[in-house]
Amino acid sequence: MGVGEAVCGGLRRVCGVAYLASRWIVRQPIWLVQSVAVTLGFFALLYAWGGRAGVSNFVIGAVVAGMWGVGINIVGQDIGWYRLMRLYDMFVATELTPTQFILGMFLSSIVFEAVTMTAYLPIALVFGAVRQLVASLAVGVAELTLAIFLGLVVAMRVSAATNVSSVTNTLSSVLQVLPPVFYPAHLLPGTVKYAVMAVPTAAAAELARQLSGLGASVPVAVPLASLNAWILSAFLVANKVVRWGMG
């Protein structure tokens, strides 16, 4: 098999996974409506209380929270459900590699996030928050990678696949709304703002704020080190627990 043929086959396999994994979005577009409505609600809330500065924080929060949700919730849940339905076993006994499988699941989830993004892209343009959008998207890629690894760990380690959703939903929503994601960390008192940087979504949002010139709550090395440590740890754990057959 030539290199070209191997690459082509690999792409087809990734597309095959993405094709199947994205059917639910086509069949249940109401989830998109919900996602867009929540996004617009947060925009209204932050604009009402914070004006243009609120919108800048909204854009960062929306991207960081969105990427986190896609990685840990959608990817984790989908893989959990595939395990439960035995489709996972069916796919293992093929030429598909685990990397291609994860890429395919990721691609299908990105479709979901891309539609949600159509809600806050015009907002960023109208309210002059393009720098925040670009910065949070750049940080979001790293955060998404981490979230996918964590989602995988949950999907593989939770013994009852039906419980995956309860774990990923909680991890997703709590880390989206509780830490300083939609609000800046400098609002927190003294050492708390340092401690909270141990939370990956808070670290990602802080980095995006600093990159886009919204000011620093802690030295940039703190969120940077936190996010990198999370990615490395999650990668190592995922590498250990993800089983692609031969168990």
Partner: protein, 300 residues
Amino acid sequence: MGAAVRGYAVEAEGLGKLYPNGVWGARDVNLTARYGEVAVLLGPNGAGKTTTVGMLTTLLKPSKGRARVAGYDVVRDHVEVRERVALCPQDISIDANWTPLEAVTGYLMIRGFSMGEAVNEAKYWLDVLDLWGVRHRLVRVLSGGQRKRVAVAMVLASNASVLFLDEPTAGLDVEGRYRVWRALREFVRGGKCVVMTTHDMREAQLVADQVVMIHKGVTVASGTPEELMRALPYRFKVIIKGRVDGLSASKILRLGDRVVAYARDREEALRIAGSVTASDVVIGEVDLEDAYLEVIGGGG
């Protein structure tokens, strides 16, 4: 994608799997299956059929023994094995948001088919399994039997050298079972191999070229259905409805108010039938179920 060795499609020798909880899923499974054959792993629930399929399809790592599929070692060459097999797991559940056409097409893309090739293959096998008429309906509105056939269509369309189907007809109605059996026989006519599991003796007798009887994780007998039945010391059985005492036969199974008496030849069967006063007596030839019961020493 030809096999490295065009010999046996599947060979397993002393295959066993010890699960982390200390339970042996399979202890000593021995089997061979050739290309152009349907091999049936036959045994009751918990016999080790699914564990065996898991090891042969590289989902599980054997704890003992060795196995080759399509000429490749299932442990050392698991990547090559995966390129040549397709698996329809037991209790497979097709995503309710897929249509049959999407399910088969998507699975074939995962196998490296282009979208065009995948749709063409899907058309053929959905038609064979009588699903073409519902190809655009969501799986969630299909019957249980149709859903099962969608899963079978997915693996048949893959054109893999060796198909593994774990109880593919469980829960299907008579017509659905016959459609699947017809499709499997058609598939092996193309020189491929099918390994399927069942605990339905009649299904094994009808569809198998080779039967491998597994009991408590061990292969207890194997051969063609005819060979396994010929190995029995009886040729006929007399089924008597009603309680019978003082019956003389080579072997007698008592099932409450039914009695099954085995006979070595037709004369003995007629003698047994003539010796009882019960009104409902049926004489028939022995079948695979009788062979199975004989091998495992079961039946009461």
